[in-house]
C-alpha cells in the first residue's frame, strides 16, 4: 500500500513542542539507552524518522509515544541535541488531538489564548449558573441541609451531568484510539482471547504506574522521586473523581467530619498538593530532570488550575467546618468554577493520559502477544545484521 506523506507534519509538530526533530541524524543512541525500547516497540529514534519523513499515518497508528514516560535519558544522551524525549511528549500531545474528534484539543495545544479564553468562559458561565440557581431558592448563609445555597443533591446531579459529558467525550476518544492503533495500525490477525488474557494490565498500570518506576531505577534518582509523586498525584486525582461523582453528598455533609469518607478526601488532597507544588517548583527552577526543562503552555495551565482547585476545595471544607458558611459558599462557587472547566477540559488535555496510558499498555500487551505469534508463524525472527 502506498504511504501518503505529509511534508508539513514536522512543522505541525513544532507547534506541539517538538522543535528539534530535524537535527536528528539517526545514530540510535536514544533507542539504545531507552529502558522501554525493545524488539517490538522500538523508539524514540523511529518516531524521529517518521516525523522527518512526514509519515503521518504511521505515527497516527502507533502507540509508542504512550510507552514513553519521559525519563529524559535519550535527550541527555542525544549527540545532536535533537531532544527525542520532548518529541515523544509532543507526539503524545499530537495524538491526544488526533484521538479527539471535536478538534478542541488541537486548538488548546496550539494556542494558549484559545485555551485560556475558553477556560475563563466556561468558568464564568458556571459561576453565573450556580449563583442564579443559588439565589433562586437558597440562602448564602446556609451551607448544607435545608435552604442551602448549593444543596448537595443538586451538586451531585450537576457533577454527574458534567461527569457524563466528560465520560462520553473520553469514551469516544478512547474508541478512536483503539480504532487507530489496533485496527488501522495492525496488519495481522489478533485472536480474541489475547484481549481477555491481557485485561489485567489495565488496572495494573493504572494503579502502579510501574513503567515509570522502571525508567527511574535507571535514572539513579535515589528514591524514585518523580515517579512516587506522579503516582500520588494520579491516585489522588482518581480518588477525588470517585468521591465527587459518587460520594459528594457525604463529602459535603457537615460540620462534623465523617472519617470513613473524609479520610479519603484528605489523603487525596495531600497527594494532589504535594504533586502540584513539586511540579510547579521543578518547572520554575527547571530542575535537573530533563523532562522539566521545557514547559509547554498547556503544562502551566494544567498545574496552576489544579492547584487552585485543591486550595479552594480545602478552604471551603475548612470554612464550612469552622462555621463560616457565608464564605464557604462563596469559595465553593469559585471552586466549582475551576472544577467544571477542568473536568470538561480533561479529554482534551494532558489529563487524558490517565485513560490513554493504561489503554496503550493494554493494547501493547495484546499487540506484542499477537506479533510474537505472527513472527513464530512466519519464522522471520532470525536476526541478520550483515
Amino acid at each position: 500500500m502506498a504511504i501518503r506523506i505529509n511534508p508539513t507534519l514536522i512543522d505541525e509538530l513544532n507547534s506541539f513542542g517538538a522543535e528539534d526533530v530535524q537535527l536528528c541524524y539517526h545514530c540510535g543512541d536514544c533507542s539504545a539507552v531507552c529502558q522501554h525500547s525493545g524488539e517490538i516497540f522500538n523508539f524514540p529514534r523511529k518516531s524521529m524518522r517518521r516525523l522527518q519523513m512526514g509519515l503521518e499515518q504511521k505515527i497516527e497508528t502507533t502507540f509508542e509515544p504512550w510507552l514513553c514516560y519521559y525519563c529524559g535519558q535519550c535527550s541527555t544522551q542525544c549527540p545532536r541535541e535533537a531532544d527525542p524525549g520532548e518529541s515523544m511528549m509532543s507526539l503524545r500531545r499530537w495524538l491526544i488531538s488526533r484521538y479527539d474528534f471535536t478538534g478542541i484539543a488541537r486548538q488548546f495545544f496550539r494556542s494558549k489564548l484559545v485555551e485560556v479564553l475558553s477556560i475563563i468562559g466556561v468558568a464564568i458561565l458556571t459561576g453565573l449558573f450556580l449563583v442564579i440557581y443559588g439565589f433562586s431558592g437558597g440562602n448564602l448563609q446556609i451551607y448544607d441541609g435545608e435552604g442551602a445555597f448549593l444543596p448537595s443533591t443538586f451538586i451531585h446531579k450537576f457533577d454527574l451531568l458534567i461527569g457524563s459529558v466528560m465520560a462520553i467525550f473520553l469514551l469516544i476518544n478512547a474508541i478512536r484510539m483503539w480504532y487507530f492503533t489496533m485496527i488501522k495500525g495492525v496488519d495481522f490477525n489478533i485472536p480474541w482471547w489475547y484481549w481477555l488474557k491481557n485485561i489485567f494490565t489495565l488496572p495494573l498500570h493504572f494503579f502502579t504506574q510501574k513503567r515509570y518506576a522502571e525508567c527511574e531505577s535507571k535514572n539513579k534518582s535515589g528514591i524514585f522521586m518523580p515517579w512516587l509523586i506522579h503516582l500520588g498525584l494520579m491516585l489522588g486525582y482518581a480518588i477525588m473523581l470517585v468521591l465527587v461523582m459518587v460520594y459528594i453528598e457525604e463529602l459535603q455533609y457537615g460540620p462534623d467530619i465523617i472519617w470513613k469518607v473524609h479520610i479519603f478526601g484528605y489523603l487525596a488532597s495531600i497527594g494532589l498538593i504535594i504533586g502540584t507544588v513539586y511540579f510547579i517548583r521543578n518547572r520554575l527552577i527547571k530542575s535537573k530532570y530533563v523532562q522539566y526543562k521545557k514547559s509547554h503552555d498547556t503544562d502551566w495551565v494544567f498545574v496552576c488550575l489544579l492547584f487552585l482547585i485543591v486550595l479552594t476545595g480545602i478552604a471551603q471544607h475548612i470554612l464550612h467546618r469552622t462555621g463560616i458558611p457565608y464564605w464557604a459558599n462563596i469559595i465553593y462557587v469559585i471552586h466549582l468554577m475551576c472544577v467544571v472547566p477542568w473536568l470538561l477540559r480533561m479529554p482534551f488535555s494532558k489529563w487524558a493520559h490517565l485513560v490513554y496510558r493504561p489503554l496503550a499498555m493494554y493494547f501493547a500487551a495484546v499487540y506484542t502477544d499477537a506479533k510474537e505469534k505472527q513472527e513464530v508463524i512466519s519464522g522471520s525472527y532470525a536476526i541478520s545484521v550483515k
Partner: protein, 600 residues
C-alpha cells in the same frame, strides 16, 4: 555600479562589530543600500528582488561568515530583478580569516574588495622580508619528519623539536595502515632513521619551544631541552640499565597497557636510539641523589649522568612549521561506555598497541587477565601473552565525535581505522565475531570505499546504528544498540569493546598558539590562512601548519600537506624573501591597491 551590501551570518560572531562594518560599507563608492539581515535569516527571493528593483541595484555584496550559504537566494533575486547574476559578490569572513585583533579591519577590507570586484587575496599580500635559511619544525610525527626531510634534502638547516624521547609520533604506534594494510613501520622507520642521521637536521628531543620573538624571516626562538640523563651518542641501547632499574611505570608509548622502567627506550626502533630517564619516577632524582643510582653503576658505556640539568637553546630561524598532531579525547568522561570501569573496554590507541607485533603481547589480540598486585594485594587487569583471545568483539564508532556534548566535528580517520581493526581481528583470531556500530560510514579517500566493502565481505557485521550502552554481566560485556537497517534492537554479548575515540589537538596547542600568535578554530585546531586556497599558511608570516594539528586527517593527507609546507619554506628561502604577517597590510593599503586594479 549601484551596489547593495547585505550582511547574513550563519553563526553569531559575537566579537565582530557588524554595525561598524555596515557603517563603513555604506560609505564605499557606489553603495546604495546596506542591510543587516542577522543570523540565519529566512530570505525571500521575491522580497529581495523588490529591494533590488526599487534601489536599481546591479551589484550585490553578501557579507558574512559563510555568505556562499545564501548566494542561491540572492542569485534568484537578481534573476527576478532581471539583473546580471554574475554580479552577486561574496565577502567571506571565514575564508579570509576574519579573526583576532585585526578582525574588524580585515572584514572591512574584504567588503571593499568585493565591492570593487577585486579578489581579496590578490591585493592582501603582505610585504616580503629577507629570510634566514634555517627552519624550525615543532613536533616530529610523520608530518614534522616529512617536512624536515624535504627541506633538509634541499640542503637547508632544520631544527626538529620533539617533546617526547623519540620522533615518529602516532604513526610509530601502528601496526598496519589503512587502506593498503601496509606495515606502518616499514614506511616510517626509514624516514625516522634518515631524519635522525641527516646532517642538515638538528634533532632536539625532550624539547619544547618556550619563547618566540623577532619578525617573519628572522624569528628568535628559545627552546627548552629537558635533560635526557643519557648520552645519546654513547648509548648503544643494550638494555642493561633497564634490567636493574627497580621502578615500573606505565608506558606512554604503549598507551599505558604495558609497563616500562624509569630508564627506558620508548620502543626498540626509537630515534635517537638511546635510552632516557623519566625524572618524575626515577628514585635517584626524586631522592635528590640519596637513593638508588643502580643503572649508573651497571652501564658498560658509562653514558648515564643522573645529575644532568635542563638546557635552553637559542636559535634564529626564517620559517616555523607547526606539526604538533593530536591526542585522544578523554573517554573516561563519557560514562556510558564504561571505559576505566570495565577492563576490556579499550580505546583505539590501546588496541593499536595490543595488536602491534612490537607490543607487550607480541601482537596477539587477547582479553585482559586478572592478576593480584603483589604490593597492594588489589586485583589488576593486565594484558598477558597467555591471555584468552576474545570470541566476540564490538567496535563502536564516533565515540565523542560528531556529538554536540563533546566534539561536534568528525574525526575523519576513525571509520577507516575501525574497519582496519576489524580486519586485523579477523585475520588473527579464527571464528571471531566482529561487530561494528556506526552512524555513517565515512570512507572518503582513494580506495577507502573498496576497503570498507572488503571488510564487510570478510564477514564483519557492520551494524548501522550507534550503540551507547556498554554494560557488564559477569565476565561478559553487553553492547546494546539499534540495528536501524534491520529495524531491530540488538544486544551483543562480547568479550572486548573497542572505542573509536574522537581526536582533539595535542596538549601544548594552546600555549603554542599564544606564543606564536596563531588563531585556533572553535574546535581548537590551528587556523590556516584560507581553507581552500592556502591550507598550509597562517596569517603569521613564515609560520605554517602541517598534519593533524590543523584538523583531523589521515596519513596520506598529512604527508601531502607536510610536503606542501616544505615547498613554501624552500620557495621563500630560494627567493630570499618571505611573506610577512597578514596584519602588516593596512586597510588603506588594501583599498588603494584594489582601486588601482579596479581602474585597470
Amino acid at each position: 555600479m549601484r551596489t547593495g551590501v547585505f550582511f547574513c551570518q550563519v553563526e553569531n560572531g559575537k566579537n565582530l562589530n557588524i554595525d561598524a562594518i555596515a557603517k563603513y560599507s555604506a560609505n564605499l563608492p557606489g553603495v546604495e543600500i546596506v542591510q543587516i539581515l542577522g543570523v540565519k535569516p529566512h530570505l525571500d527571493a521575491k522580497l529581495l528582488s523588490e529591494i533590488i528593483m526599487t534601489n536599481k541595484l546591479n551589484r550585490l555584496v553578501i557579507a558574512g561568515d559563510m555568505p556562499g550559504y545564501y548566494k542561491p537566494v540572492f542569485t534568484k533575486a537578481m534573476l527576478l530583478a532581471e539583473q546580471n547574476t554574475d554580479e552577486v559578490r561574496l565577502a567571506s569572513f571565514q575564508e579570509h580569516g576574519v579573526r583576532g585583533e585585526y578582525a574588524l579591519d580585515r572584514a572591512k577590507a574584504i567588503i571593499a574588495c568585493a565591492n570593487m570586484a577585486v579578489p581579496f587575496s590578490l591585493v592582501a599580500s603582505p610585504k616580503r622580508n629577507p629570510v634566514s635559511h634555517a627552519t624550525l619544525v615543532i613536533g616530529a610525527g610523520i608530518a614534522g619528519i616529512q617536512a624536515s626531510l624535504e627541506i633538509a634534502n634541499a640542503g637547508k638547516h632544520v631544527y626538529l623539536v620533539e617533546q617526547t624521547g623519540t620522533i615518529g609520533g602516532h604513526m610509530a604506534m601502528f601496526d598496519k595502515t589503512f587502506p593498503t594494510l601496509d606495515c606502518a613501520a616499514c614506511i616510517l622507520t626509514p624516514k625516522m632513521v634518515s631524519a635522525g642521521q641527516h646532517e642538515m637536521i638538528h634533532l632536539l628531543t625532550k624539547s619544547r619551544v618556550s619563547e618566540v620573538s623577532g619578525k617573519p624571516g628572522a624569528y628568535r626562538v628559545k627552546i627548552h631541552q629537558h635533560a635526557r640523563y643519557v648520552d645519546v651518542d654513547a648509548c648503544v641501547a643494550c638494555n642493561i640499565c633497564a634490567d636493574v632499574c627497580p621502578v615500573k611505570v606505565e608506558s606512554e608509548f604503549d598507551s599505558r597497557i604495558s609497563l616500562r622502567k624509569a630508564i627506558y627506550i620508548p620502543f626498540p626502533q626509537a630515534v635517537p636510539n638511546s635510552y632516557l630517564v623519566d625524572p618524575e619516577n626515577c628514585t635517584y632524582i626524586l631522592s635528590e641523589g640519596q637513593k638508588c643510582g643502580a643503572c649508573v653503576k651497571k652501564c658498560p658505556k658509562e653514558c648515564i649522568n643522573l645529575n644532568e640539568t635542563d638546557k635552553d637553546i637559542d636559535i634564529e630561524v626564517g620559517n616555523i612549521i607547526i606539526a604538533t598532531g593530536y591526542e585522544l579525547l578523554d573517554v573516561g568522561k563519557i560514562e556510558q561506555y564504561g571505559y576505566g570501569k570495565y577492563p576490556n573496554v579499550l580505546t583505539s590507541l590501546e588496541f593499536e598497541r595490543l595488536t602491534n607485533a612490537s607490543g607487550s603481547t607480541g601482537g596477539r589480540i587477547v582479553t585482559k587477565t586478572r592478576q593480584i598486585n603483589k604490593k597492594t594485594g588489589a586485583d589488576e587487569w593486565i594484558f598477558s601473552p597467555e591471555g584468552a583471545p576474545p570470541r566476540n568483539v564490538a567496535i563502536i564508532h564516533c565515540v565523542g565525535s560528531r556529538n554536540k556534548n563533546y566534539n561536534a566535528y568528525c574525526s575523519r580517520v576513525c571509520c577507516m581505522y575501525s574497519l582496519k581493526f576489524a580486519h586485523l581481528i579477523k585475520e588473527k583470531i579464527p571464528n571471531v565475531n566482529c561487530y561494528e556500530f556506526y552512524i555513517d560510514m565515512r570512507a572518503f579517500g582513494k580506495g577507502y570505499e573498496e576497503f570498507a566493502e572488503r571488510i564487510k565481505h570478510e564477514g564483519t557485521f557492520v551494524v548501522r546504528g550507534h550503540s551507547t550502552n556498554v554494560e557488564m554481566k559477569g565476565e561478559q560485556l553487553i553492547v546494546r544498540g539499534e540495528d536501524i537497517l534491520n529495524d531491530k534492537m540488538v544486544e551483543f554479548y562480547v568479550d572486548m569493546v573497542i572505542l573509536a575515540v574522537g581526536l582533539i589537538p595535542a596538549k601544548g596547542t594552546d600555549y603554542l598558539s599564544r606564543i606564536l600568535g596563531i588563531a585556533r578554530d572553535p574546535d581548537g585546531w590551528f587556523s590556516e590562512l584560507d581553507y581552500n586556497g592556502n591550507p598550509t599558511d597562517t596569517e603569521r608570516g613564515g609560520i605554517y601548519v602541517a598534519g593533524m594539528c590543523q584538523g583531523p586527517k589521515d596519513i596520506p593527507d598529512t604527508v601531502a600537506q607536510a610536503s606542501a609546507v616544505a615547498a613554501g619554506v624552500l620557495g621563500s628561502i630560494s627567493s630570499g624573501k618571505g611573506i610577512g604577517h597578514l596584519s602588516s597590510v593596512t586597510l588603506s593599503e588594501i583599498e588603494s591597491r584594489a582601486k588601482i586594479i579596479h581602474t585597470l
